[in-house]
Amino acid sequence: MLEELTEKFERVLKKVTGQGRLTEENISETLREIRRVLLDADVNYKVAKQFIEDVKVKALGKEVLTSITPGQLITKIIYDELTRLLGGNGAEIKLNPSGITTIMLIGLQGCGKTTFSAKLARLLKSKKRDVLLVAADVYRPAAVNQLKILGKQIDVPVFSIDDSKDPVKIAEDALEYARQNKLNTVIIDTAGRLHIDEEMMREAAAIKAKVNPTETLFVVDSMTGQDAVNSAKAFHEKVDFDGIVITKLDGDSRGGCVLSIRAVVDRPVKFVSAGEKLDSIEVFYPDRLASRILGKGDIVSLVEKA
């Protein structure tokens, strides 16, 4: 696919050879092609537009060396720019050196919060932390039970108040429980909510205000389309978060939504979830997602030549 893309660029860039430089004229068609690739990968319309502008600025005047083709050159420019935009500082999870580390998970319905909270619990437990999972979703049918079952699978206690409809209180009590039982890590699973649901967004903000988490993570389904910018922006404004978790990357979605989100919210991607099994949790590699957005394939060999 990537080779295909480069070939496509080669075709439209034929005329560059002999001219020696990338110019506005000889790359305009290529830029249109890139735009199409990005949109097909679900990069937001505006974000794609800006990206093309930036790439254009970076590409203009670049000399085409004899060792590489113009197609390879432009592929490298795009790939590097994508990798740069997808990456970011502080991708490590923050831990509270003194006292309890609290991690709160937020996001839209069905994005993978509950599953991810168990994955994170398992990971931190393997790093010798004493973890407590907190069932703060009081709405979704059987949400508490789901977390209990997952907790049992990884042998991590799950805090819940079975007849409570008050997530703020549940979170608060869970922290107290952790203190009393000398558990140093608390992971709070919250209900899925729409970013335009004012009441539910206020609730998430209230939980956050009450427990003051060390980390709040925004969980996003990698299959999300154009609307990712709207939900990410709203969650950022109304609740605020420290990092992003991308789920369901075991599918074949291109994951362009990550670029969109990174463009509107300056927060790093901290984890990747790629499977339903509780050990499918990975660190995030911006370069891998960059080649995925451009279409799966071996970009490395291409780029190394450039």
Binding site: R35, D40, Y45, K46, L147, L194, I196, D227, S231
Partner: protein
């Protein structure tokens, strides 16, 4: 629904207030289409077509351009037939629900069961998600809310649950059987094979069934939804689509590609987490609503 209104307002805002259709308007319109997840190709095609048609028009008003775009969008949606009557001459009528993880299958099963029950039919749900933690409990809660029977043989294979549900339905004269399945990504071949097996088991019991295979798509999903349909098709061919979560700001425009490329109709839309938040999909209405009429 909110989704419709959003789209409507956006398109109306884009078009109105401009005396004639200039490049800027076209670009804004393209943005509206693409940010609806309609896909770059369809967006380009529709705008190009509308532009060509508009050139020949003597009425140069933005309203007229709007009308042409609307007709083009309608033409896409009319490529697949929507809801027919449910044929109960052979009972039970069997519906299988499929789709990727977390798209809203189980919730949609609850809503559907409730709808059928309300129209006086006897419904039975089969819980063939033996995989996801508490899937069974979740569906049981929905069955209770809807006031319908549920067959959930938790430890068994999914196809065995489908078998048991149909057997039970035959015994007590159930009109409609709805089988909920586990979410799966099409990249997981063994899980996809399982879908095919469920299909075979049902078909062995009832040569006319399943009557419907409804694929549930997350309304916030992007272009990958088309791939999902394409890949699921290889194992069990969807006869209709339910598109969920349209109560947010996502537009669900990917259905244009699914209808145009796959000719699979959209049958219902999900507009919330409540039991009544399922609506019939009407292409006409959808387009009318897009333009605020």
């Amino acid at each position: 629904s909110k989704t419709r209104d959003n789209l409507v307002n956006k398109i109306s805002e884009t078009i109105s207030g401009k005396a004639k259709v200039d490049e800027e308007t076209l670009e804004e319109l393209e943005e509206v289409l693409i940010t609806s997840d309609i896909g770059s190709q369809i967006a380009e095609e529709i705008i190009e077509k509308a532009r060509a048609l508009f050139k020949k028009e003597s009425d140069r008003s933005v309203d007229n351009f709007k009308k042409i775009i609307k007709e083009e969008l309608e033409a896409v949606l009319s490529q697949a037939k929507t809801n027919g009557e449910i044929d109960l001459s052979q009972k039970p009528y069997v519906i299988v629900i499929i789709g990727v993880n977390g798209s809203g299958k189980t919730t949609s099963v609850g809503k559907l069961a409730y709808n059928f029950k309300r129209s006086g039919l006897k419904v039975k749900i089969g819980s063939a998600d033996t995989f996801r933690a508490a899937a069974n409990d979740q569906l049981e809660i929905w069955a209770n809310k809807a006031g319908v029977d549920i067959i959930s043989t938790n430890t068994k294979e999914p196809s065995a649950v489908a078998f048991d549900t149909i057997k039970a339905a035959q015994k007590d004269g159930t009109d409609i059987v709805i089988i909920d399945t586990a979410g799966r990504l099409h990249t997981q071949k063994n899980l996809m094979d399982e879908l095919n097996k469920i299909h075979r088991v049902i078909n062995n019991l009832l040569p006319y069934a399943p009557n419907e295979i409804l694929m549930v798509l997350d309304g916030t999903a992007g272009q990958n939804a088309v791939r999902q349909v394409e890949e699921f098709e290889k194992y069990t061919k969807p006869t209709g689509i339910i598109i969920t979560k349209l109560d947010g700001t996502a537009k669900g425009g990917v259905i244009f590609r699914i209808i145009s490329e796959k000719k699979i109709p959209v049958k219902y839309i999900g507009v919330g987490e409540g039991i009544e938040d399922l609506q019939d999909f009407s292409p006409k209405e959808f387009i009318e609503a897009m333009f605020g009429n």
